[in-house]
C-alpha cells in the first residue's frame, strides 16, 4: 500500500472534498471524474497545499497529515512529486537548470537517475540548454515530467500533464508514462477526465463525483461498476477490456470500447475485415429513454457493451442469456 487516505475532508469556499481510499505501491492509479469533481483538489491536498479539516493521510506508512492530532508534514518534506497541468517550469532557468533544481534537492539516500539519462529517456536532450520559454506545449510537459522524476519522489502525482497534447503526441506521452511507471517502479497517480486515457493508463481507479469518492479499486473491477459508468457522457459509455486482448494491442493497460462502436450479431459472422470478434452471452439489456438499448455481453475478455437501435432490438429478438457476437473495429479503440 502506498497512499492511505482516511476520511479526509478539505474545504475550499463552498466546495468540499471528502475522500477515503488507498492506492497500491506500484502501477498507475487514475483519478477519474467529470470537470469540477475535485480531481485537481485531491492532488493539491495530497501534495500539502490545502489543509485537512479532518481525516488522515499517510504515504508508505509515514504519516503526512492528521487533522485530529494536528500533525502536518510540509509539502517540501512529503516526498510527493507533482506534475502540473501547466508544467510550471522556472522561467529564469534553462531546461537543464530546471532539471538540476530537482536533482540538487533530492535526498542522497534515494536512488534516482541522472539528468542525462532522464533527458535521453524523455527525448529532451536536444534542448537541454534552451530557455524554457521557447519550448512547445509537449516539450514543456516532458521537461516537467523529467524534473519531477529527478526529484525521486515516493509517489508521482500528475494533473493531466498531457492536456496540451493531441492525437499521436498524446498517445506517445501516455505510452511513455506507462513505460516509466513500470521501469522506474514509480507509483503514479494520474488525473484525467478522458475515459480513453483512463482506460489506457489505469491499473487502479479512484472515481470522483462532486467531491466524493464513488468507487475505487482495480481498473478492471471499478470501470464496469454502475457508480463508475454513471460518471460518463452518454456517448462515452462502453467497457474496458485488457489491451492484450485487442488485435495489435500491447499488453498492460486497457482499452475503452465505446458501446456506439460495437456491432452485435446473433450468429457467428464470417468474412469480416474486423479483427476483434468475441462470442458471449447477453448479461443484461438496458433500455434507454429514447428506445435504444445498451446490451451487455459477457465474453472471455470481459463485459462488452453495445448500443443498438430500437428497430434492431426488435429484429434481433435479443434476450438476456442469449448467445451473441460482438464486433469491434480496431481503429475505434
Amino acid at each position: 500500500m502506498s497512499l492511505d487516505v482516511r476520511q479526509a475532508v478539505v474545504k475550499r469556499g463552498a466546495f468540499s472534498l471528502a475522500a477515503e481510499f488507498e492506492t497500491p505501491g506500484e502501477g498507475i492509479t487514475v483519478v477519474f471524474g467529470p470537470s469540477g469533481a475535485g480531481k485537481s483538489m485531491l492532488l493539491s491536498t495530497l501534495a500539502g497545499f490545502y489543509r485537512l479539516e479532518s481525516g488522515r493521510i499517510s504515504l508508505n506508512g509515514r504519516l503526512l497529515e492528521d487533522a485530529a492530532a494536528r500533525e502536518r508534514v510540509s509539502s517540501f518534506q512529503r516526498g510527493v512529486g507533482l506534475v502540473f497541468q501547466d508544467a510550471r517550469l522556472f522561467p529564469h532557468l534553462t531546461v537543464r537548470g530546471n532539471l538540476r533544481y530537482a536533482e540538487r534537492r533530492r535526498p542522497a539516500a534515494r536512488a534516482a537517475p541522472i539528468v542525462e539519462e532522464i533527458a535521453a529517456q524523455l527525448d529532451i536532450s536536444e534542448f537541454l540548454d534552451r530557455p524554457v520559454r521557447n519550448l512547445s506545449g509537449g516539450e514543456k510537459s516532458r521537461v516537467a515530467l523529467a524534473r519531477a522524476m529527478l526529484s525521486a519522489p515516493e509517489i508521482l502525482l500528475l494533473d493531466e500533464p498531457f492536456a496540451a497534447l493531441d492525437g499521436k503526441r498524446r498517445r506517445a506521452f501516455l505510452a511513455m508514462l506507462r513505460d516509466i511507471s513500470v521501469k522506474a517502479k514509480l507509483p503514479m497517480m494520474v488525473v484525467t477526465h478522458q475515459i480513453e486515457d483512463a482506460a489506457e493508463l489505469a491499473d487502479h481507479v479512484v472515481a470522483l463525483k462532486e467531491g466524493r469518492v464513488v468507487a475505487h479499486g482495480s481498473a478492471s473491477a471499478v470501470m464496469r461498476r454502475q457508480e463508475f459508468v454513471t460518471l460518463l457522457d452518454r456517448r462515452d459509455i462502453g467497457a474496458r477490456i485488457d489491451a492484450g486482448a485487442i488485435a495489435g494491442g500491447r499488453p498492460g493497460g486497457g482499452v475503452w470500447v465505446k458501446a456506439d462502436n460495437v456491432i452485435l450479431a446473433t450468429e457467428a459472422p464470417r468474412g469480416l475485415s474486423a479483427r476483434n470478434l468475441w462470442e458471449g452471452h447477453i448479461a443484461s439489456i438496458f433500455r434507454e429513454p429514447d428506445g435504444s438499448a445498451l446490451v451487455s455481453l459477457a465474453t472471455q475478455v470481459g463485459y462488452i457493451s453495445s448500443r443498438i437501435t430500437p428497430e434492431a432490438l426488435v429484429d434481433l429478438h435479443l434476450e438476456e442469456g442469449g448467445k451473441a457476437w460482438a464486433v469491434v473495429k480496431t481503429h475505434s479503440v
Binding site: A47, S74, S75, L82, F84, F90, Y101, S151
Partner: protein
C-alpha cells in the same frame, strides 16, 4: 560657513584637451564635491536599507500573517510624515543624547547626527517606502504556482526565497534601488534636520541649492545645481525603466 562665492568652472580649450579633462571641466570643483556628497549619501542609503526593504517587501507580499497591517503602516509612514518630522524623530532617537545614538557612540564610537552617515540614514528612511513598494510589486508579480512547484521539488521556505523569489524579483529589486537612489539624491527636509548642512559632509544637491539661494548672487550656482540634480534624477528614472523592460522581456514565458 555656507557663504561661499560662486566661481564659474575653469574651462579648458576644447582643442587638444583630453576627454577626461573635458568631463572634469564641465563642473567646478565645488559642484563636483556637492555631487560626490549626494552620490555618496544616496548610495550608502540604498546599500544599507536594501536588505531591510527586501525583507519588508517579501513579508508584505505574503498572503496573510498576524500584524501585516502594522508592518505595512510602518513601511509607508515616511511617505505621509513631514520630512522635517522624520529628521526630528531621527534626531531624538539617533542624536548624541538619544537612546540609540548614545549607545552607538559609547559602543562603536559611531556618531550619526551631523555626519554623512546620518544623512544617509535620513535619506534611507525617506526612500524606504519607494523601495519597498517597487520590490513588493515584483514579488507579487511572481506566479504563486511556481512556488508550489518548487515545494514539491523539496525546496523549503528559505530555499524558495533564495532560489525562486529573489531571482524572479531581482529586476524589480534593482529598479526599486535605482528609483530610491534617484529620489535619495533629492532628499531635503529629513537630511537638513537630522544631519544639518555641512559642506563636504552632508551638503547634498538640494541643500546646496537651498544654500545658494540664501546667498547673494547665488542664483547662477543654484541653476547649475538644479540642472545637475534634474539630470541625475531623470537618468535614474530612465535606468529603472530600462531595467524593468529588459527584465520583462527576459522572463516572459
Amino acid at each position: 560657513m555656507w557663504e561661499r562665492r560662486y566661481t564659474p568652472p575653469q574651462r579648458t580649450p576644447l582643442a587638444g584637451g583630453a576627454s577626461r579633462d573635458m568631463v572634469r571641466a564641465m563642473l567646478s570643483a565645488e559642484e563636483w564635491r556637492i555631487l560626490a556628497t549626494s552620490l555618496g549619501v544616496a548610495g550608502r542609503a540604498v546599500i544599507f536599507s536594501l536588505p531591510i526593504a527586501i525583507a519588508f517587501a517579501y513579508a508584505l507580499s505574503r498572503p496573510r500573517f498576524p500584524g501585516k497591517s502594522v508592518v505595512d503602516a510602518i513601511a509607508h509612514l515616511p511617505l505621509v510624515l513631514p520630512p522635517v518630522l522624520v529628521g526630528f524623530l531621527l534626531l531624538l532617537a539617533f542624536g548624541r543624547r538619544g537612546p540609540i545614538g548614545s549607545w552607538l557612540e559609547s559602543t562603536f564610537g559611531v556618531q550619526l547626527a551631523f555626519t554623512a552617515e546620518g544623512a544617509a540614514l535620513a535619506t534611507a528612511v525617506m526612500a524606504f517606502p519607494l523601495m519597498v513598494r517597487a520590490i513588493r510589486l515584483s514579488f507579487e508579480a511572481a506566479d504563486p504556482g511556481l512556488f508550489e512547484a518548487a515545494a514539491v521539488l523539496r525546496a523549503g521556505p528559505w530555499d524558495r526565497f533564495v532560489s525562486l523569489a529573489l531571482p524572479l524579483a531581482w529586476p524589480g529589486v534593482l529598479a526599486g534601488a535605482v528609483t530610491a537612489f534617484a529620489a535619495g539624491l533629492g532628499e531635503f527636509g529629513a537630511v537638513i534636520t537630522f544631519a544639518s548642512n555641512v559642506p563636504g559632509e552632508t551638503q547634498t544637491l538640494p541643500l546646496a541649492i537651498y544654500s545658494a539661494l540664501q546667498t547673494p548672487n547665488g542664483e547662477a550656482l543654484a541653476l547649475r545645481l538644479a540642472a545637475i540634480s534634474m539630470t541625475a534624477a531623470v537618468a535614474g528614472l530612465v535606468a529603472a525603466e530600462l531595467i524593468q523592460r529588459w527584465a520583462r522581456r527576459r522572463l516572459e514565458a
